[in-house]
């Protein structure tokens, strides 16, 4: 008895002593400026640090462009972050190929089983997990209910592409700008093109094109997507001067109530008010969400979604504590808190029930029920091909290039990679 108690006591003392040897710093580099998210993350870090004395987890923020400029050099220095923000897709694959990422499949299978499969797959390269997602988003049409009512357009009636074009015509006839797009930055326009590809080609389209099957990017799906986009643009649905409008300006135009629809990601909800002329934007009650219409003859389903998947990838030299932190971070309770504070839409299954904002809830439900979720084209394909997609989307819409030439340009960029 005595010996056992003594041994137990010794074991306790030893256990308490061990963490004192492991004084580790874990740096997490990210670009998220949403206040609710940062507050939550700082809290998670604090909770973890408290529970694990000797480990200090710290989130570090860099602005988006600065992050992209600095990361390649930073990864070559001793100051490299242990975990860093990622949009998945081509950049992540390049980082993995350069040997900069760590395989964390074994450590995180547990946490990942609780997450949406699509999101988890977005952070796998060749079947191995190099990181963990935490956020998913959806691109959809945000529409101004009042302007719809004014033109006599009913959102429930817009199911197919032709319904959509009719709605656009009706809005125009009523003197309302049907669509606002920040084409000055190009990527907002590529949402149209991407969704058309997804609706027309279904869930294999992009993967096949990447693998150079069926003519690669020059196949009928991409050409038809271009044709449909051109068809839409021919109705002149965009706001005046759309080719030089920035994304922030377009959010302001929507918030001012000067355009009926904006095809955009979920962050628009946080942007339209501060960028509006009044500072108040549209009240939430006046905003509705409309899924991208289906295209007649297309293989895609109306429940297929397009949107970003964001997460953290693990640096090759990251200490065990970093991976451990990722498990801690991915817990259900934090996902629910993110949902409840509208920090972001979490990927943990079931956490979306905690969302209070009805618009965000609608997006989260769409994602949970999604039959095929596609990451942003310009992330998935990597920056070299991605930027060409951005360029040609605007060019096709503005009538500067034909759908066939656009598809060929994408294929060229893919070949030059």
């Amino acid at each position: 008895m005595n010996v056992r108690r003594y041994a137990l006591g010794a074991a306790c003392v030893f256990a308490l002593a061990v963490p004192a040897f492991a004084d580790t710093n874990v740096t997490i580099l990210h670009v998220n400026e949403v206040a609710a998210a940062r507050t939550l993350w700082d809290k998670i870090a604090a909770d973890y640090n408290a529970a694990h004395p000797g480990v200090k987890v710290q989130f570090k923020y860099l602005e988006n462009e600065a992050f992209k400029a600095k990361l390649p050099t930073m990864l070559q220095s001793d100051d490299r972050p242990d975990l860093f923000y990622s949009w998945g897709g081509g950049v992540m694959q390049a980082q993995d190929k350069a040997g900069l990422l760590k395989d964390v499949t074994a450590d995180l299978t547990d946490a990942e089983s609780k997450m949406s499969t699509t999101a988890v797959n977005a952070f796998k390269v060749d079947g191995k997990a190099v990181g963990v997602p935490f956020e998913m988003g959806e691109v959809a049409f945000y529409y101004n209910k009042k302007l719809f009512a004014q033109a006599g357009v009913k959102a429930e009636d817009i199911k197919s592409w032709d319904d959509f074009l009719d709605a656009v015509k009706k809005l125009k006839a009523a003197g309302i700008t049907p669509l606002v797009v920040g084409a000055g930055e190009k990527w907002p326009m590529h949402f149209y093109y991407s969704y058309l590809v997804v609706r027309i080609g279904g869930d294999g389209a992009l993967a096949d094109a990447k693998a150079n099957k069926n003519g690669g990017f020059k196949n009928a799906t991409f050409v038809e997507a271009g044709k449909r986009l051109h068809e839409l643009a021919a109705l002149e649905p965009f706001q005046a001067g759309y080719l030089s409008t920035s994304h922030a300006q377009s959010a302001g135009v929507f918030g001012d109530g000067k355009a009926a629809m904006d095809l955009m990601g979920q962050w628009l909800l946080g942007m339209q008010a501060p960028n509006s002329a009044s500072g108040k934007g549209l009240p939430d009650d006046d905003i509705g969400i409309l899924s991208f219409p289906t295209v007649p003859g297309g293989k895609g389903k109306p429940t297929d979604t397009l949107g970003g998947v964001n997460g953290f990838v693990v640096s090759k030299s990251a200490p065990a504590a970093a991976v451990d932190f990722l498990k801690f971070f991915s817990q259900d309770k934090y996902a629910k808190e993110a949902a409840a504070t509208s920090a972001y839409i979490p990927v943990v299954k079931g956490a979306e029930t905690a969302i209070t904002d009805p618009l965000q809830r609608r997006l989260a439900d769409d994602l949970a029920a999604s039959t095929y979720h596609q990451n942003f084209f310009d992330q998935d394909l990597g920056p070299s091909v991605g930027r060409v997609i951005n360029d040609v989307s605007v060019a096709v819409a503005a009538g500067q290039t034909t759908p066939e030439a656009a598809a060929a340009a994408i294929q060229d960029a893919a070949d030059q990679q």
């Binding site: 670009v31 988006n64 600065a66 600095k70 050099t73 070559q76 220095s77 100051d79 002329a277 500072g279």
Partner: protein, 282 residues
């Protein structure tokens, strides 16, 4: 005074006309600057729709919050330190080299000058990766010198050209007289060349200061600690992935122009002092 009155009147009219033209030009030049300053007093949405007018309500909090934040003063201090180090080192190294090229002819002097010239001809943006590796290998990452030394290196070419040009224009009699008096090159450099080159030295100083002050890419890749960030990196706090608080950015930028203006005025004062010192006459 026996000047013809009509000529004097013409001169006076000409002076007024010129002054008027300057005022108009100054106004045109200032419009965007004023828009920047006023922008800090507006709300984000108003900035887009009411660019040139006075703010609907004067938002004092943008400027005030920045001035009251420790971050502003810290990044300002960092920028100032980096810029002053850059200017001092640039002036020192470039004036020494320019002097050598201006006065001395030796084997390889043309080659070396052309070598330095080449540095102006390649876009610096492409060299960031290898430059980073050099800085890292020298152990200068995340340090002020890691920013200062490359900045000096990049500004040498232009500075040397300007200074060499100016040094060569100083009258020859001075050097001849000095040499005859047994004054060596070093003393000539310190006591004659430099003092007489006030205008060009202060111009090079100002140009070098502004380039360093507005430098962004180099500090971004070299510095990791937020405590060392210059204001161009401190700006990131107001910028986001999808949305930027432009009114805060403009307020911040306005507040960071002030030290550059101060530097300019100081440098100009130095010229005036140099002029009244009555240097070369007679």
């Amino acid at each position: 005074m026996r000047g013809r009155p009509s000529r004097r009147r013409m001169n006076a009219l000409a002076a007024i006309a010129i002054f008027g033209a300057l005022i108009v030009l100054a106004g045109v030049v200032l419009v965007p600057i004023l828009a920047t300053v006023l922008g800090g007093f507006k709300e984000l949405g108003e900035l887009r729709v009411n660019l040139l007018g006075l703010p609907r309500h004067w938002v004092w909090s943008s400027y005030w919050d920045i001035l009251a934040s420790a971050r502003y003063w810290r990044v300002l201090g960092n920028s100032l330190l980096i810029a002053l180090l850059t200017v001092t080192l640039t002036l020192a190294l470039s004036s020494m080299a320019a002097f050598t090229f201006a006065h001395l002819k030796f084997f390889g002097d043309k080659f070396l000058l052309n070598y330095l010239l080449l540095g102006m001809l390649f876009p610096a943006a492409t060299a960031i990766l290898p430059l980073f590796i050099k800085i890292r290998d020298l152990g200068l990452l995340d340090s002020y010198w890691g920013v200062v030394l490359p900045q000096v290196a990049f500004s040498l070419a232009m500075a040397i050209l300007l200074l060499r040009n100016a040094f060569k224009q100083l009258p020859t009699e001075l050097l001849d007289a000095a040499m005859m008096d047994g004054c060596g090159y070093f003393r000539y450099f310190l006591f004659i060349t430099l003092p007489l080159s006030g205008p060009i030295l202060s111009t090079v100083a100002v140009i070098s200061f502004v380039a360093s002050w507005n430098g962004y890419l180099l500090p971004l890749v070299v510095l990791d600690s937020e405590s060392r960030y210059p204001w161009t990196l401190g700006l990131m706090a107001y910028q986001g992935q999808y949305s930027t608080s432009w009114q805060l950015v403009l307020a911040f930028i306005t507040l960071t122009i002030l030290p550059a203006i101060l530097m300019f005025l100081l440098a100009q004062r130095y010229i005036v002092a140099g002029l009244t010192a009555g240097a070369v006459k007679g």
